[in-house]
Homo-oligomer: 135 residues x 2
């Protein structure tokens, strides 16, 4: 099984999974992406204003869940997790679209709309492409 | 280090990384997502016409690369991989936005615009949300 090597972690005032907003645009506080020093080169072209996808490993998720109730609808029918954004899923990788607000020393990035909780491992950062919006 | 447990793999006529289109909309042939039988429940609400994000593990990528030349610009300046979609990166997770064309037995899904090469492990499937387009 392929092993992920976290490139850093999230620092956020959000500490409780159940208090966290379900999606970033629903009122997440500002948070910091903190990268490990050995990834300085990989991060060197990230700029204030850049729209990025942050991929996280949702380490507090349940990996043995295949069916969930849709959010805020406890009495609705169960739904296959591949048709939901539930963190509980076989490989709990989170995708967060955020904007960089501030860069500190090339390794710390303040962002808005990041719903991940404090300490969540980060595994990748990718630029948002136009095609992500168009299709 | 967290370990990924592939949920399935890609079956595609694309077999050569260097012959594959760089992004799915650039002429990928139709391909199949083939899931392992134990994930039948998680996949049960995937339908023809659904727009999904397929997350893959790009197992032929180089994980020790932090700087790359932008695509098709060998003489351009090197760029940090977190500002590119290069498959070569510390954790080579691919994100592919595709549309389901056909469902076979609840475990096989024919899709278009999937640029991954034959045999690529699949680690997650998520629905495309409106917010992915808007932001």
């Amino acid at each position: 099984m392929p092993a992920l090597d976290p490139i850093g972690h999230v620092t956020s005032p959000l500490t409780d999974r159940h208090a966290a907003p379900k999606q970033g645009s629903e009122g997440s506080p500002e948070a910091w992406i903190e990268l490990r020093p050995e990834f300085r080169d990989a991060a060197r072209d990230l700029r204030v204003g850049s729209a990025i996808l942050v991929l996280t490993w949702l380490d507090r998720a349940a990996r043995d869940v295949q069916l969930v109730h849709p959010r805020d609808k406890e009495h609705a029918e169960l739904r296959g997790v591949f048709s939901t954004r539930s963190p509980d899923r076989p490989n709990p990788i989170g995708i967060h679209r955020v904007t960089i607000l501030e860069v500190d020393d090339g390794l710390r990035f303040k962002v808005r709309d990041l719903e991940a909780i404090d300490g969540t491992p980060i595994v990748d950062i990718k630029p948002v492409l136009d095609r992500d919006r168009e299709r």
